[in-house]
Assembly symmetry: C2
Homo-oligomer: 122 residues x 2
DNA sequence: TAGTTTAAACTAATTAATTAGTTATATTTA
DNA sequence: TAAATATAACTAATTAATTAGTTTAAACTA
């Protein structure tokens, strides 16, 4: 799976959020200095060529939707970070994060319990 | 703190690893199609302008070293990922990772114990 | 059906990132 | 001290990413 550039990622985030959208709806969601219609349209077509997005015809236009799930992409990103900065070790990454954010073992235990109750153990 | 581009990150990784190096030593560490001396030199100077790197004179050349700690940068990257893909929630991120990588609560408890023994609770 | 509108497709322009050639400077060595 | 060498600094070229103008096609409307 390819990497997303900054502009591409911004638009993917919107598509993941909306689930599907035409170019106009994407622009609506973009912040203040809104890019031109064609700018967004071009990026969407790049996302299409990178196989991140597909579309269906609807009325006179196209409705675009993600072809790659957000979780698939975030998983790749997390793994990349883990490989590059934590010697590929999840333990190192969690340990690091806990130190940096002052999360105690106790708090972590609580978090684990919450996760446990969401998703019953197999 | 600014973001690193791909080429910049590759060189920062080497500097973080070596702790300090001149351009020649950086090139030594770079993989197969080794870039030209000047390519590396330019990127190092960009890193300097981005305040990621500093240097001291040594003999006839410069010895470069990181000004930003690897942990500082990875912390930023992890936070960025957490904000963009896990609604800023560490719990969501850990939970997600456990599911994706089939880590059970039991395994996680073991990891927690290991972290606990490395770093006695405060 | 002719004109108007809307959006995609195509293409060009701009900006950012990467790579590398050339020049200048300092140090070593003969 | 003059030549050779090594390296930084500067600058140019190339490639990738982003932005936006122009063209084309479809479909709606009068």
């Amino acid at each position: 799976m390819k990497q997303l550039t900054k502009a591409e990622e911004d638009i993917m985030q919107i598509l993941w959020d909306l689930e599907e959208a035409n170019v106009a709806s994407i622009i609506e969601k973009l912040p203040k200095p809104k890019p031109a219609y064609n700018t967004v349209s071009t990026i969407v077509r790049i996302l299409e060529s990178k196989d991140f997005v597909d579309y269906r015809k609807e009325g006179r236009g196209h409705v675009y939707f993600p072809k790659v799930k957000k979780t698939e992409y975030s998983n790749q990103s997390l793994n990349k970070l883990m490989d590059g900065y934590f010697q590929g070790s999840f333990k190192s990454m969690v340990s690091f994060f806990m130190k940096k954010n002052d999360i105690s073992i106790q708090e972590m235990e609580t978090i684990m319990k919450e996760i446990n109750s969401e998703k019953p153990r197999k």
